[in-house]
Structure formats: structure tokens, C-alpha cells
């Protein structure tokens, strides 16, 4: 019976809150640590992340340079700590803009339907059919390589996932009774959309945005590998891996530590996504 089912769902909701999903805490903790490192980078980093020490090039991890140094004699640990600032920023902005654009367009399409929906779905088809790394490369090259272009490209390419997700959600919720009730009570479109539809439709996207952050980070790294990422000598993990590529067999530490950094941050985000999904009962 519907009633019984709702009650069980409700119990599940509370259960999740009370007991708390482990991934949520774990993911949250990882992100928090990175966030703290990023904020306190000036205090924590032992060296200037861009200072080149000609006498200390390619040193393996030792007591002076815990994570070793790169081919310019820059301290890897300091670069990773400072890099956290950029990478968190990448994860944030790389998600926020697509999220905003995607949810707006997706909810309009889902709510109004008709030709708006048709046009938008066709555009989404086109963007999806395009190999997106290539699209991003092209956009970045047009705008000139760098972080801000990366954000723009990410926004132009990444919104489709959110649009699809929100649209699908809106379509489901649109036909639910409480939206019908809102219509029957004579509420305006904007009120129904912003007060009733979106708050309920957006959960899935919020959870998705966490795992999307992982993809954004990796995209950033791939873009750096192809040479279109942040401007040198900025410390950023993707570019550190890319620069350390040529030393992968001779000086493993240059790529391994930023690699681990990316993986842990990515894990933090996916764990958080898992936990949030479990908590809010959202499936990807």
C-alpha cells in the first residue's frame, strides 16, 4: 500500500540520518582535510611552490624534501599543498557553472515541454554526440589555454548532463500530485518551478555534481596532458603530472604524489556522492 510504503521510506530516511552512511563521513573528512590544506597552504607548505632551486634538482623524497623535488628543484610537497587551492577551485568552478546552466535549461525544458524541450533535446543530442574532450580542446584553443577558458569550456560542454538529469526529474515530479495541487491552486509558473519543482528535482543533480567533480578534475589533468591547462609555473596537480611525465621512469615521485593527491580528492568526492545519494535516497 502506498501508505505503508511512504512510511517505510520515511523510516529509511531517518535511519540514514541517525546511523549515518559511512561514505558520507569518510568523503567529507577527506574533502575537509584537503580544504584545510588549501586554506592554510602559506603556513603549511615548507617552500615556495614556484621557487626553483638549481642545486636541488630531481631529489628523491628525503628528510628535507619529503616528497622530493622536480627537475627545477621545486619542492613537490609544497606544490601539492598549493596545488590543492587550484584543484579545489577547478572542481568547484568546473561543476558550478555547468550545474547552473544545466539545471536552468533542463528545468525549463522539462517544465514547459513543447518546442523548447524539442530544441533543447536536439542541442543536447548534438553536444553529447560530440567527443567532449575534443570540443573542450577546441573551445580552449579558441579562447587561449588557461584556467578561465577551461571553466568556460567545461560550462559549455558539461551542462548537458545536468540538463538531462534535471529534465528527467522534472518530468517525473511534474506529474506528481503536489505539483498538480499547486497548479490547481492557481500558482504562477515561476512559483511552481522554483518553490515546488526545483527543490525536489535538484537532489539528484547535487549528488551527481559530486561525482562530476571527479570527472572535472580528471578532465583538467587530461587537458594539461595535452598541454592546454593552467599557465606555468602555477602549481596544479594535473600539470604536475603532465610535466613529470618525462620522468615517470626515472623520478617516479614527481608524478606519483600529485597522482595520489588527485586520486584521494577524487575519492573524497565520490564517497561524498555515494553518501549523499544514500542519505537522500537518490540513485545516480
Amino acid at each position: 500500500m502506498t501508505l505503508a510504503r511512504t512510511q517505510t521510506a520515511r523510516a529509511g530516511f531517518r535511519l540514514a540520518f541517525g546511523g549515518g552512511p559511512l561514505p558520507l563521513y569518510l568523503g567529507g573528512a577527506i574533502l575537509l582535510i584537503w580544504f584545510a590544506l588549501a586554506v592554510m597552504a602559506p603556513l603549511l607548505a615548507p617552500y615556495d611552490p614556484i621557487f626553483q632551486d638549481g642545486t636541488a634538482r630531481l631529489q628523491p623524497p628525503n628528510s628535507v624534501h619529503w616528497f622530493g623535488t622536480d627537475n627545477f628543484g621545486r619542492d613537490i610537497l609544497s606544490r601539492i599543498v598549493w596545488g590543492a587551492r587550484i584543484d579545489l577551485q577547478i572542481a568547484l568552478f568546473g561543476v558550478v557553472f555547468p550545474f547552473l546552466i544545466g539545471t536552468t535549461l533542463g528545468s525549463c525544458a522539462g517544465y514547459f515541454g513543447g518546442w523548447i524541450d524539442t530544441v533543447l533535446m536536439r542541442i543536447i543530442d548534438v553536444v553529447l554526440a560530440f567527443p567532449f574532450l575534443v570540443l573542450m580542446m577546441a573551445i580552449i584553443v579558441i579562447l587561449k589555454p588557461g584556467l578561465s577558458s577551461f571553466y568556460v569550456a567545461m560550462a559549455l560542454v558539461g551542462w548537458v548532463s545536468y540538463a538531462r538529469l534535471v529534465r528527467a526529474q522534472i518530468l517525473v515530479i511534474k506529474s506528481s500530485d503536489f505539483v498538480l495541487a499547486a497548479t490547481s491552486l492557481g500558482y504562477s509558473h515561476s512559483r511552481i518551478m522554483f518553490r515546488h519543482l526545483l527543490p525536489n528535482a535538484i537532489l539528484g543533480s547535487v549528488v551527481f555534481s559530486m561525482s562530476d567533480a571527479v570527472l572535472v578534475l580528471l578532465n583538467g589533468a587530461a587537458i594539461s596532458y595535452l598541454g592546454l591547462g593552467v599557465q606555468p609555473p602555477t602549481a596544479e596537480w594535473g600539470i604536475m603530472i603532465a610535466e613529470g611525465q618525462s620522468f615517470i621512469t626515472s623520478a617516479w615521485w614527481i608524478t606519483t604524489f600529485p597522482g595520489i593527491a588527485i586520486v584521494t580528492l577524487a575519492m573524497g568526492f565520490s564517497l561524498l556522492a555515494d553518501g549523499l545519494g544514500e542519505l537522500l535516497g537518490v540513485r545516480e
Binding site: I50, F51, Q52, G54, R57, N71, F72, V141, K144, P145, G146, L226, G227, L228, Q231, P232, P233, E243, Q245, S246, F247, I248, T249, S250
Partner: protein, 478 residues
Amino acid sequence: AGVLTIGRREDSSTFDPIMTAQNIDFWVFANVYDVLVRVDKTGTKLEPGLAESWTVSDDGLTYAFTMRDAKFSDGSPITAEDAAYSLTRIRDDEGSLWSDSYKVISKMETPDPKTLVLTLSEASAPFLSSLAMPGASIISKAGMESMGPEAYAEKPVASGAFVVEDWLRGDRVILAKNPEFWEADRVSLDGVEWISIPDDNTRMLKIEAGELDAAIFVPFSRIEQLKQNPDLKVELDPSTREDHLLINHESPELAKKEVRQALDLAIDKQAVVDAVTFGIGEVAYSFVPKGALYHYADNLKRPYDPEKAKQMLSEAGAEGLTLDYLVNAGDEVDEQIAILLQQQLAQAGITVNLIKMDPSQTWDMLVAGDYDLSVMYWTNDILDPDQKTTFVLGHDTNMNYMTRYNNDTVKQLVADARVEMDPAKREEMYVELQKTAKDDVNWIDLYYSPYRNVSRANIEGFYQNPLGRFFLEDTVKN
């Protein structure tokens, strides 16, 4: 005997010699085609190729070549007519990338199949050198006419040591020994495979794993480590490559010679050599590369002196200078140099903004003069210094290699040197040019670097001359 497999960064794009300007293609052309006149192994002398001998008229306008008894890979003889056809094509064909360099030929005659007579419109000292360029490779007239350019570019009729057996686009070029080659007994290999492996790491791992006989473009960073490996031989062959820092003379502060000299002083080239080339390169001091014809070994070597640089800058009223530095995105070495120079110039009080750009776009910006500094490199295509000098100092159509360097005396001197046929006098003129360029700081010479190749221990004679030609006809696989 055996097939030599060589790993390189990219695959060939064509086998039509006139359609490309890329080393990657040229280096294979030299295996497949022969030229009238060759550059020798040391890269300092010309020697006979398909032309057995030649005479030059006193006014330097008429060249008479006697053709050797040689055959194309299809068995037909290589005649003077084929040679004339090849040169006409490079001069006149619509798609030719090199026509400008051969416009000087005004007339080609083939009185008999063994004789080719070329008449020039003006005397040209570098002319003979330019015939050694792979673009001027001798192709089969009959073959080209019957196959059409597209098919010929795919599977050419060869005049060189090897013939294209198969070409797996994007992957590898498979060459087989050409039994009809006039020096066929010199060739020991049964064939050659040029394999494209874009990733530097993968290429090195592949040769370490023994899946390749040789690999070219060894990254500087790997040389030391590869040398440790007893199964491998790392070859550092002198090249004509020179890396330099372009300066835009039209940007207001940089128009002053003193400022440019201060920049030169502020750059620690040895540090670049150490950090970027791992000590393998050598500090450069002239635009004519070391070991090349007319290189001036005593040219001025400005010391690294950031204090003096600072002082000169303030004297020139260019304190707190801020410069835009264009970096080629995706080029590891370029990025490394940029990062180093940024820190060095900062010590002389110069702020450098790195602007990373996709290479094709950097090119546009350089042409448009939208930059202050940028790193570029040059390798010679021909033996004679004229080609590079003209591009760099001769006020050619490319604004002196985009530097917009402007010195009329130099310009005149370049033109004079081109037509001067006396080697001793030419040498003097080129020394003068090198001195002036250095004084004017047309650009900043950074370093010379060798070709870096690695081969398995059982490979012998895997050698590249300074112009980049591989002598695979002498390579032996044991």
C-alpha cells in the same frame, strides 16, 4: 641483414617530396630518394649523388651535371630528364612548398639522357647546397605521370636505397631494400620500419623492452638513465639545431639595443643547458650553429650578469620592464625554458608574463607581432648558411623571422654574401654578420643541442648527419 625498426614521434604525412616541409618526412625521403648532390656524413661537404660530376661556369650561372648509371626501383634508368622533371616540379608545381628557393633556375636543358644543364638567373653561392635538399629528390617522370601525384605520394617509385613496401597510415612506414639502387651493395639491411609512437615514455619503454631496434627523439631527461642500460647505445650526433629567444624589436622598450643586451646578460644560458638539456646541450653564441659552415667560434659570449643587466636597464630607462612571453603549449622543453627564464629575468627586475598558446596560434601571434619574447628553434635544411641567414637577417618577407630586426647594412651584407662565389671572402662576410647580429641582439642565442637517438647494442652505424640525414645504407643489424 634484418629489418631495422625505428620509433619516432609522428608518422610520415606524404611521399611527395615537394609537398612537405617537415623533418619527419624529409628523414624518410633520404632513405627512399636520392638527390643529385648529397651532403656528406660530417655535414660540411657536398658529394656526388645521382650526378656523377658537375661543372660550374665561371660566372656561376650555368651548371652542367653528368648523370650516373642508376635505376629507379621499377628498373627504368634514371635520366637527366627525370632530374629536370623533378626540379621543374619543385619550382613550378602549384602545391610545391619550396618553389621560392628554386625560382633562381631560369632554364633546364637535357641535351642527352646523361647531361643536365641548368641556367640560373643570377649567381647563387648556396645553389648547389639547395640541390641536396630532400625536397629536390629525384622522382620518376614516367612513374609520376602514369600514377598521378596522389598514388605516387602513397607508394613512390624510389631512387634511393629503400623502396616503400607498405605504409600503414598513422602507424608505420615499411621500407624494403631497393635492389635496383646504384649503391645496393652498400646496403646491409633488408628493410626499415619507421614506427610512430607519439608518447616519449612509451617510445623509450618500447626500446627498453627490446621491441624496437632504435628510437629517435630521446627526451633529455632520459639520456642519463638509458646510458646505464648495457643493451642500449645512446647516440648524440651533432646537429644544426639552435634554440633561441625571439625578441620583438617593435615593442617599445625592446627597440633599444641596450635593453636587448641587458636581456642577454640577464639570462643564464648555462642554467638552461643544465636544467633543460641535462647538460647535454651547449651554450649558443652565434646563429650559425657550431660545426656548420662558416660558424664563428670566437663570437662574443655575453656573461650572465643580472646586476649589470639591471644597471643597463635603468640607464636605458626601462626599469620595471614587463614582457609578454609566448609559450608553445604542449611542448615540454619550451615550457621548461619559459619557467626558467621567468625566474632568471625576475632577478634582473623584469616581470615576465607567460602566455601559453597552442603552437599554430603562437605562430599567428608571432607573425602579427603580438608578443615580446618567445622561444623558437631552427635546424638547417641545407649545408649553406645562406638559407638561415636570409630568413633571420636578410629582411625577407618574414620580418627577419618575426623579430622585426631592422639593420640595412646587415641586409646588404646578406645579399652580397649570397652571390659571392669565393669561399674565403664569404667566410669573412659571415663572420661579420655573426658579430653584428650578436651586437644588435637580433635574438638571444640559447643553446645548441645534438640529435638524441638510441639503438639496441646490436645495431651499428645508426647515424644522423648534422642536417638530419640517416645513413641507413650503412646501418648494420647484427
